[in-house]
């Protein structure tokens, strides 16, 4: 290497790829993170799509982004602020500049900073030529011209040539991070094997970008992120939606049941249906219903017939399903609803993340209508929580709501591949043979769970329904005392599931000044912030809840060991108020962010330290 080069070892590097919807940012983001994963880095990624399919090119509304955070150290967030920004046009630069660290490397295509594009992005002058980007390392090659030059002999049309611009930037990033081009080159060969010209073009442009970075005088540092020390084993990359789909399917297989998904497309949950619809190979029956109501009803009907009936949806869809969920509670049938939460109310912010369906999940039904609520905390553990949600549903004959979030559903991270034997067994209370005087609502005295007999089983014919039923015979009953007994029994049945709920664990200090409380997908940011505050010698701990109903047994023990408790969530305080209702002896501070965005580690740290130091 000719220039005076410094190699800097880094614990973590965050990168943002940003461009128009058609610029191929998701593709290079994926190739980049696969390359890092193969090298052995820990990572977390998050795509940031606009809600329009193709908003006008060059406008801020049309920007599509991909964030990746790779690490030698453990990585728990996709990175709030980027060390490297790739911005394909002025709008991408403008939309992302607030998310870039001071001193970061900014890569842009100078050819795209013409008057028209600047105007569309709302710039009055060219930020490449004034002082806007002072303090950053700006790398601004004329990428369009350079790829034209690189490919002038390849014989591709102009449109196809310009489509490779993303690979030029990826090549530059690979040089900056001293990464191998091999995986990406192989990807081209496989993906475009029917079109050798396209393989050649992409390979050449990737290299051209790599060598451009090597040659340009502006770049003086190479960053090395050594492999992470994570548990040995074989990994694959999973996002939360795919992980949820796999977890549900794994539960059905473990219970020896068919999986039936009744669903209606809704952002950001649709991918769960898409993944399971593709799993015909593993026998999944998927039913894209005419609406959200039909979707949940079909799943109830499937469970009645002996399958594991499941649904995926988001907030507005859960609202439509509430009456049917009441039926499922009343007839005591297994059912799992995965609610991938988005910004609300109403249509709200479909592509943005929020935690504001908590109360809807807990209380959003008519009558006294209890059901278990779980929340996944990372993209990859959506697999396990989907599995456990289904296990509870099947073993306790109840609908269960699993809350995930857009942030988890679309976020990706490595998932260690397991074998099915690693998962616990699932034993639904199935009845296979007629016994004398069998009653469909004769309960297990320990768990209060009713037996599950399915159509086709001789001698166990029975009727179930949404009307109140007699506690013993299951026949319709309007008796006042019976109703009270049944309401209390349904409540108690769900409360007893606490036996299956693991104790709440605390990360960090076990006693101290501040307990940070979170639930669901805020985990990565809270963990990173608490870890960093601990390094500054503060007495701080983190308790992240995954079991919302029933709550773990040891909550009061944990809370009692800290001077202050702060509940952090992406809503106005739904979990904090739920805790106030359930554990009234404690005082709860709140930190709430409702911007469709996750917390940043910086704002969390600042808040925690302020709260600890406040008298």
């Amino acid at each position: 290497m000719s220039k005076n080069l410094q190699v800097i070892e880094s614990e973590r590097i965050a990168i943002r790829f940003s461009g128009d919807s058609g610029d191929g940012m998701q593709l290079i983001g994926t190739l980049f993170s696969d390359t890092a994963a193969l090298f052995g880095n820990d990572l977390s990624t998050f795509p940031d799509y606009p809600s329009e399919v193709r908003a006008p090119a060059g406008t801020i509304g049309g920007i599509s982004g991909f964030n990746a955070n790779i690490g030698h150290a453990l990585v728990n967030t996709p990175g709030d602020y980027a060390d490297i920004l790739v911005a394909m046009n002025p709008a991408a630069l403008k939309a992302n500049l607030m998310w870039v660290k001071p001193g970061a490397i900014i890569i842009v295509d100078r050819d795209n900073f013409d008057e028209k594009s600047l105007e569309k992005a709302g710039y009055t002058e060219n930020p490449l030529n004034n002082n806007d980007l002072n303090g950053f390392t700006l790398v601004d090659p004329p990428i369009a011209s350079l790829v034209r030059e690189t490919l002038k002999e390849v014989g591709l049309d102009t449109k196809s040539i310009l489509r490779t611009r993303n690979m030029f930037t990826l090549g530059m990033v690979y040089w900056i991070l001293d990464q191998s081009l091999e995986y990406t080159d192989n990807f081209f060969k496989e993906k475009f094997k029917k079109n050798p010209l396209v393989v050649e073009a992409n390979t050449r442009v990737l290299q051209a970008g790599y060598y451009y970075a090597e040659t340009t005088e502006v770049l003086t540092n190479v960053y090395k992120v050594p492999p992470a020390e994570i548990q040995k084993g074989r990994y694959t990359k999973l996002n939360g939606n795919k992980a949820s789909a796999w977890g549900l399917l794994a539960a059905a297989k473990r219970a020896n049941l068919d999986l039936f998904i009744g669903s209606y497309p809704i952002t950001p949950a649709t991918q769960v249906l898409e993944e399971l619809s593709a799993r015909k190979d593993l026998g999944v029956k998927s039913f894209q219903a005419e609406d959200e109501i039909a979707a949940v009803c079909a799943s109830i009907g499937a469970s009645f017939a002996g399958a594991l009936g499941v649904c995926n949806t988001s907030g507005p869809g859960l609202a439509l399903k509430s009456e049917a969920l009441g039926l499922a509670v009343m007839i005591e049938i297994p059912l799992v609803i995965v609610d991938v939460q988005r910004g609300g109310p109403s249509t709200g912010l479909p592509t943005k993340s929020e935690q504001s369906d908590l109360w809807q999940a807990l209380y959003g039904r008519n009558g006294e209508c209890p059901l278990p609520v779980l929340a996944a905390t990372t993209p990859s553990n959506c697999f396990y929580y989907a599995f456990y949600a289904a296990k509870i549903a099947l073993e306790h004959m109840t609908p269960v709501i699993l809350l995930t979030e857009g942030y988890l559903g679309n976020g990706s991270e490595p998932w260690r591949i397991i074998s099915m034997e690693d998962l616990p067994e699932i034993h639904p209370p199935r009845v296979f043979k007629a016994v004398k005087d069998w009653k469909p609502f004769e309960r297990d005295p320990e768990t209060l769970v009713r037996p599950w007999a399915i159509p086709g089983t001789k001698g166990l014919e029975h009727r179930i329904g949404g009307l109140e039923k007699d506690a013993i015979t299951g026949s319709v009953s309007h008796d006042p005392l019976n109703h009270q007994k049944m309401v209390e029994m349904r409540e108690e049945k769900i409360n007893r599931i606490v036996k299956d709920v693991p104790d709440l664990e605390v990360f960090g200090e076990q006693t101290g000044d501040l307990l940070v409380v979170g639930w669901g997908g805020t985990y990565g940011h809270l963990l990173t912030a608490v870890r960093e505050v601990l390094q500054e010698k503060f007495k701080i701990g983190l308790a992240q809840f995954s079991y919302i109903r029933p709550l773990p047994k040891n909550v009061a023990d944990v809370f009692g060991k800290f001077k202050k408790i702060i509940v952090c969530e992406n809503n106005l305080g739904q979990f904090a108020n739920y805790l106030r209702f359930n554990y009234q002896d404690f005082r709860y501070l709140q930190f709430n962010k409702i911007q469709g965005l996750p917390f940043t580690v910086e704002e969390l740290k600042e808040k925690f330290i302020n709260v600890i130091e406040e008298k």
């Binding site: 548990q231 079909a298 009727r463």
Partner: protein, 339 residues
Amino acid sequence: MAENQAKLTAQDLKSDQQIRWCAGCGNHAILAAVQKALPELGIKKEDFVFISGIGCSSRFPYYMDTYGIHSIHGRAAAISSGTKVTNPNLSVWIMTGDGDSLAIGGNHFIHTIRRNMGLNIIIFNNEIYGLTKGQYSPTSKKGAHTYTSPYGTVESPFHPAELVIGSQGKFFARSVDNNVKLTTEILIQAGKHDGTSVVEILQNCVIYNDKTHAEITDKEFKDDRQLILKHGEPMIFGKNRDKGIILDGVKLKIVNIGQNGVKEEDILVHRSNENNPGIHMMLANMRHPNYPVALGVIRNVQAPTYETSVAEQIKKVQAKSNIKTMEDLFNSGTTFEIK
């Protein structure tokens, strides 16, 4: 083996529940017809499932000693779809009313038919909301005076047959509650039909809409006002069996056999299995007083069902796919080893 078992009887299908429909309600006769029809299907008792929504008719499952769900308003078709897809071997019956299936459940009704889901939908059409005590329904005649239309309705009613045929329905039949024999015959054919079968039963609500179908069902004039269709037979009706239906241009026309040179062989012969629904639609739309009302199986054509198509697709994909186990799935994407 099923063949060795004693044949199912109507008595076997009666549950221990006391029947709570009003005295004189048309539902009693429909229940009797169902309990007569089912044993003729050669299906085991444990393979019958009755699913209903909300309304007087939806109490039906409680009176059948079969598997059943009394569910929520309008959703029986959606629930049944999940049941049938999960176990295509079941004989699934939806007992529903005009409000349940055509108002709150209208969306599920048309989509179930469009998919040709293997379900039997029995609509008890009494043109009124009975359980909520007398409000107009989507099949109430225009101008009907009810508790929610004291000055008469201003909206046009649905005709179930038009929705069925408009949704590419393959089976549509119509009966009247006071003809148990005809209802039984129709139910047997519906039960044997693969795919969605819709049976509309003109049913009398003795309390809130008494005699709404009387001009068709009364003994005095029923022979002249009902045309009972049978596949392969000429469309002849009337007390003296002297009236028939012919096609006159693009319309159906009533003629008198023996008058103006009309002979029996001029009368249209009913073809329920004709794929083109044109004549079926015209027959189903015949209304008093211009025409006799068509009863019997009006349309009965074969087509692949949803649940068998799903099962076949799964088989096909499974034969081809490299993913045979969950472990195959876990390893199907880009994987990497951490050593």
